[in-house]
């Protein structure tokens, strides 16, 4: 049959079961990526001697290689490190004891960290230097100034790009099946393979992804509008 609509509708809730996993990967990768990205940005903005160069190299590497390659490198890299550490510490653990989610979280966080560091850098530099000086002049420390003055303002200009990064993570999580994580695409493939109904399952999966991206786009626009309420913008 060309396209079994009944079957497709029936598969919707089945494949939707894997949506929480996709969201989990995207959210964790985003959070860890923010931490990594923020550290990288600080290294670059304050030009910490060796870390600055390392950060530039790291960002260039992540941006210049496909995410699939990064997933494989992280996969074998973690196994390699695990073996090294196990040897040195005398453990007797096997590679199979490493949870597959760890590989996914690590790979996507490392990837997100590089892209987010560029986003965070542009967001932080969009805040006027005068804000920091004013903060110092009333006696705030750097950390306090960052937390109370700079970051809230940077968030306003950075939010569209953070939203983009999050959407890219949702779509990027589709590659997690290579490390045996069952997210939406894996589920679709498993279901498709069971009955050879490839097209229907993949169409359902794409509708689910499309729906998720659409919803999150709207959420981010709402957030932006909320944060921009007191911002003066250019109007003609």
């Amino acid at each position: 049959m060309f396209f079994d609509v009944q079957y497709a509708i029936k598969q919707f809730p089945v494949i939707l079961e894997a949506a929480p996993m996709t969201l989990l990967i995207a959210v964790v990768a985003m959070l860890l990526g923010m931490v990594i990205g923020f550290s990288l940005t600080l290294c670059r903005m304050y030009r910490v001697p060796i870390l600055n160069r390392l950060a530039i190299l790291y960002i260039s590497f992540i941006r210049g290689t496909p995410i699939l390659v990064q997933i494989y490198v992280t996969f074998f890299g973690i196994q390699f490190l695990f073996q090294l550490v196990a040897r040195a510490m005398g453990w007797n653990a096997s590679l199979g004891s490493i949870p597959s989610l760890l590989y996914a979280f690590a790979a996507f966080s490392i990837n997100a960290g590089a892209f987010l560091s560029e986003t965070i850098r542009s967001a932080l530099s969009s805040v006027e230097a005068g804000q920091m000086e004013a903060a110092y002049s009333v006696g705030l420390s750097t950390v306090q100034a960052m937390r109370r003055i700079i970051i809230p303002q940077a968030l306003v200009s950075g939010l569209p790009n953070f939203g983009n990064a999050f959407l890219l993570l949702i779509k990027g999580s589709s590659l997690a099946f290579t490390v045996m994580v069952v997210e939406i695409l894996s589920k679709a493939k498993i279901e498709a393979g069971a009955g050879y109904r490839y097209t229907e399952n993949f169409v359902v999966a794409s509708i689910i992804y499309w729906g998720m991206c659409f919803v999150f786009e709207k959420v981010f626009v709402l957030l932006e509008n909320r944060l921009k309420r007191y911002k003066h913008e250019i109007t003609i």
Binding site: V69, V73, T199, S206
Partner: protein, 233 residues
Amino acid sequence: MIGFDIGYMFSAIPLIVRAIPLTFVIVVLSLFFGTLLGLLLTSMKLGKNPVSALIATGYVSFIRGTPTLLQLYLVYYGLPKVLELVGVDINSWDRVFFAIAAFSLNSGAFLSEVMRSAYLAVDIGQQEAALSVGMGSMQTLRRIIFPQAFAIALPNLGNSIIQLLKETSLAFIIGVNEIMGQAQLIIGRGYGVRQFETFIAVSLIYWAICFAMEKGFAFLENIYKKGHREIGR
């Protein structure tokens, strides 16, 4: 055996490099068809017909809202079925065809956004001036708007092309023997040892190609930006 075998990594590089021509063929052909599709989508979006504008917007939204790998699968499994309806059997066609088709459809959407924003960024006074000296709209487009839009589009175009290059790595999942596929071949021949070194070699190759492309685009940007006054010193 533990330990990073750098010698193995370097010896793997010439073997993997053999797949670069195929990767470039995929990129170039996908770009070509993607540009055509992008032009079509842009003209639909900026045109006067609301229905075609809606179709174009919906298509771009779909492509941007779904993972590229999923699009690749949809084309690989779905296109033969669609063509079966009109009696054409492409089940035996080379998988590279499906990869190029999927990447063309994908890049077409992204390129249409690049083209649209570049076109809209050209000052409308340019078009008015051209029309006022008697140029037809096709002439205006060709001689005045396009050169300026191209210069504006170059950075985004460069990003899109580099993104496309990286996405071709997904084609190995449907069995195309490009860089990643070649790496798997080498690993298979070596009975699965030294996978880490092989993938590090792959990443170094992609990194080098992307680096070269970035420099190339920076060079092109310098040429096309001659005479253009920008904000800043």
